[in-house]
Symmetry: D5
Subunit: 146 residues, 10 copies
């Protein structure tokens, strides 16, 4: 079983059982964004949630070791095109230098890690139109001199 | 005066006066990320904060109309290279499809606007290493059928 | 059934029945451009037109849920090559900055949404050569300061 | 005087006199989109409007022949980045094949000319948010066989 | 039957029957370049030559409607590599601006259409080496002002 | 004097004297396309026409040796954008494989040289719209085996 | 049989019979580089060596006509990556302008043909490390004026 | 003095003195291709030829240390366009895999060095058209296992 | 058996037997990085380790000659995306010019060979977080003059 | 003073004083690779070495604050071309997946940080040709689940 086969099986079973990503995340007792990313093949799962996921979705036995293996992360190689993803990319383009200024002003020279990192999505109801709230939380890594 | 001249003048005066972006934002009574982005030329300022900024930094008179004019947004044309900005781009690559799944599960078919949008950066102190918290807040726009 | 299978099935049935896109749009009671785009997989259909389309073209049952699901929009990754599509791209290149000037002069700083958006095509008969009339209608979104 | 000098002089004089593109177009008795595009250097002007423009904005004498000369059209070489222009590009990506289907269904095999072409922008007031109406009008050119 | 199947069938039958493109063009009573381009899938055929071609090469019945349908033109997405095609591309690079100067000097501001267009290839025998003569014939389209 | 200075001087003097490229070509007794390309810096001139051109346009003495030197040919590095030049590029894309088929059918395996090559542009008056006639004439070079 | 099938068959038979490219070239009485390139599908073979090759490697009958047909030359579309090929590409980058200077000084304005062209590889034994000797031999083509 | 200033000074003095690259190479007692490449800034010169060159062309004193410094090699970043250089690039594309096959058959797994490398150009007179002979001579480097 | 089949077989057998790359390298008596790279198809194996590997992993007989054949090295054609590989690429970008300065200061004009080259990875345990130690060892090749 | 002015001043003074990068690093009591990278503008200096450097090279006073400011890291945007840097890039291409396998086998799923990172270059004398030893030392960062 290759990773893309496991991803495809997860989506088919999820639709068949009528589960949302949030339902699955609640079953696994972990965050919805992280669980979705691991199900889409972009993160490796520790043993416990991998086993629970296989049980929940009745995945074949070897799926568990695939879910636990370390993925090679890759994505569409060009400017993203789907409008939802493009808007995120546009935010990085428009506000990238601003974030560099603001973060380094607060923390000194360094970066926000994308590895020791978590992310969350919330819905804020609003009569003028609901709002999407995305929160990123990454460890600050200072540059080292030697 | 061109926009890049105003940006350069702001940075020189800011350094001369020893002000941080946060100080300037507090003086203008607006968010630090938005103020920084407008000072870097990526957003147009309403009249009041533009006038206050010119007074605070003793910018030449014509700077105010430049700050109020509508910028053509543009950024470095390739995969970003500065490590801080690249990590943000990597987050979009690794989690872009995940965010599409999670947002559309919560809201239906549509996007998070990058125009009717705000963003904030906070520092979370942590003995194992401080953490950067970035919060994005954008209006959800549903696709229209006709 | 994947989206591309549904698209292919629609085109085969449409040709077999000798229907035009306009005929299908009239049957569904919706705009011809929107119906065509949804049939080509670039928009999700609400339940009623999806059901009517499946009935009209005798599509397999599971096609309806595919038509209702939220597509990942993507297109040919380069400068478009088909001459008809290229001419549209050329219009954006030649008149893009002009439209920015004219729209922002009329509306202030902001954009025309491509999400809360509709489009129509008409034929204007003319003895010197018929003319194509394309009308776009998008909500103006003003930039927000915070 | 090079074309970019004339474009810059037009913008400076326009701002000094407090004229909008619409004001200038009304003075020249021609469409606002066309006038703006010619002022930005993307179309050549016939003698009468070029002379009237030079008089109106008190441009140097040689500007008139530059305005009448035939421009080499060129634009930013990448996926457009300004959010207003990007949304237009996204429309071409998402609806390009749809427009090909719909236009060729109505007209036969051929294209909409981007040369024998005009375009207009209107503002439609709407309590839920004003709307931008863009109308394109291009001659249909059928493919020739020989 | 997809377009590429029809193209492949044409080439197989043409080789089997020992026909040249010129032979086929003579049978159809049309130009050799146009017939070849239509057989390679880059132009749509009117009914009469499509029917004659199907009869001549004993193509399956449905090939005729494919030959008559409107192709989406596309080509190798990069600088062409086959040496014969590259030399044509090099000619456009080296002489493109020259042709713009010479054509617009003779005709005014506008373009040579690539749609209302025909092309011919002749062989000119020469003891120092035969010469290839390519003739292009396209309608001049003047830019419109409005 | 660099090549671009000579090109600029030629264009200024040509406009001042009110000469067309055809006038200059007639004075030099050579083809209009070739003369234009050499004046734009894409071909080296033999001594006689270079001297005659310098005399005709009263160019500085050192211009003659620049006109006679061997240029490094280069052009805009992307898909051409000016609509006149793009249409030529589109012709190569749409008809490139066709020309390969037709030329190699008539001549055997080899190419049309772009070096031992000439080109001409004519205007064919036509009440339905004048037509541009471009003729290319290149030596056929057969591939060698060894 | 397509060209890539013939290439694959040649390599399988060559390995099975334990022949080197040099052995095959000697059997055909032609140069090793040319024979290898034709076997890899980058050159068309005249009838005699094609027939001899088919006999030698016991290729199916139709392979001969494929070997004699005129290939469309194409190669990996990016900067080459295999280290051996990259070093050749680097030589063109580092020494390209130098070769232009030196060749045009010796021959006048023109090029070395890559069509009327041959190439050879020799091994020069050397105690400090053997050396690769590559010799290219191409006809000089002078630019034409007209 | 920057490297490009030294390159420019060399070319001006060379033209003033009417020297060819071959003349300069003979004066320095080194190969013409190497001398030209060092004069164009693509190789560093040892002290003796650098001193002799400065004396011969009466270059300013500091030119010698620039000629002796280690250049950062770089070239035009795209498919080369000048026809002479393109033909060399085409040779690498068409014959790259062939050279890999032939060299590794003769030498084993490894590459031809482009560093421990020399190159020469000769003119072979021929009544049917003179021929350019390019000879490359590079050390073979075998891959290492460890 | 093609190279990718052998790579896949190696990975399947390695997982089945529960061997690490280090285990395999120890069995073959060679370095872990080199063995891994050869197993992934980026280096050719001498006869002894190829035979031992086939025996150890019970690979089919023909795998040995594939492992001994000379690979065409190639990799993902864009900026690498997997975060681990990207960080290495970032190091080359940030420190590339620095390494050129430091190496050429120590060794003179030349390069570090990537062919006569070896590499090693060690784990340095550290209570504040373990550290990865990568050591590269390449022959210095001085540029040659001639 | 901009960063590039400081970099240029450092190089001029270093050459004037005849100092090597190693000499400067020894004076500052820090690593040669880190000092060189900071002098080339790719790392920010703490106060003490920045002050010592300014004193050593007699740089203008404001250089110190530039050296201490946080740089935006950027590099040449294409495949690197200088042969020394290209070989490093080739190593990442050829061995990137190998390093991912070996590092993650030793450490688990995660990356080697390029921020909490140091690097060193040594010369290993060898009668068969000296060898370049590059050592990288980066903190391992495990992926986080949440």
């Amino acid at each position: 079983m290759k990773r893309e086969d496991v991803v495809e099986a997860i989506i088919i079973e999820k639709n068949k059982l009528g589960l949302s990503w949030q339902d699955i995340a609640d079953e696994l007792g972990m965050g919805c964004v992280w669980v979705t990313s691991a199900c889409l093949g972009m993160n490796s799962m520790p043993k416990a949630p991998a086993a629970r996921l296989c049980q929940l979705l009745e995945l074949p036995e070897e799926a568990q070791s695939v879910l636990m293996s370390f993925p090679t992360k890759a994505w569409s190689r060009d400017v993203p095109q789907d409008p939802l993803v493009y808007r995120l990319y546009e935010v990085v383009g428009v506000y990238g230098d601003t974030l560099k200024e603001v973060i380094q002003e607060k923390f000194g020279d360094g970066i926000m890690s994308a590895i020791d990192f978590s992310m969350d999505v919330e819905k804020l109801e609003d009569p003028k139109g609901d709002r999407v709230i995305i929160t990123m939380n990454g460890k600050f890594l200072p540059y080292k001199s030697w």
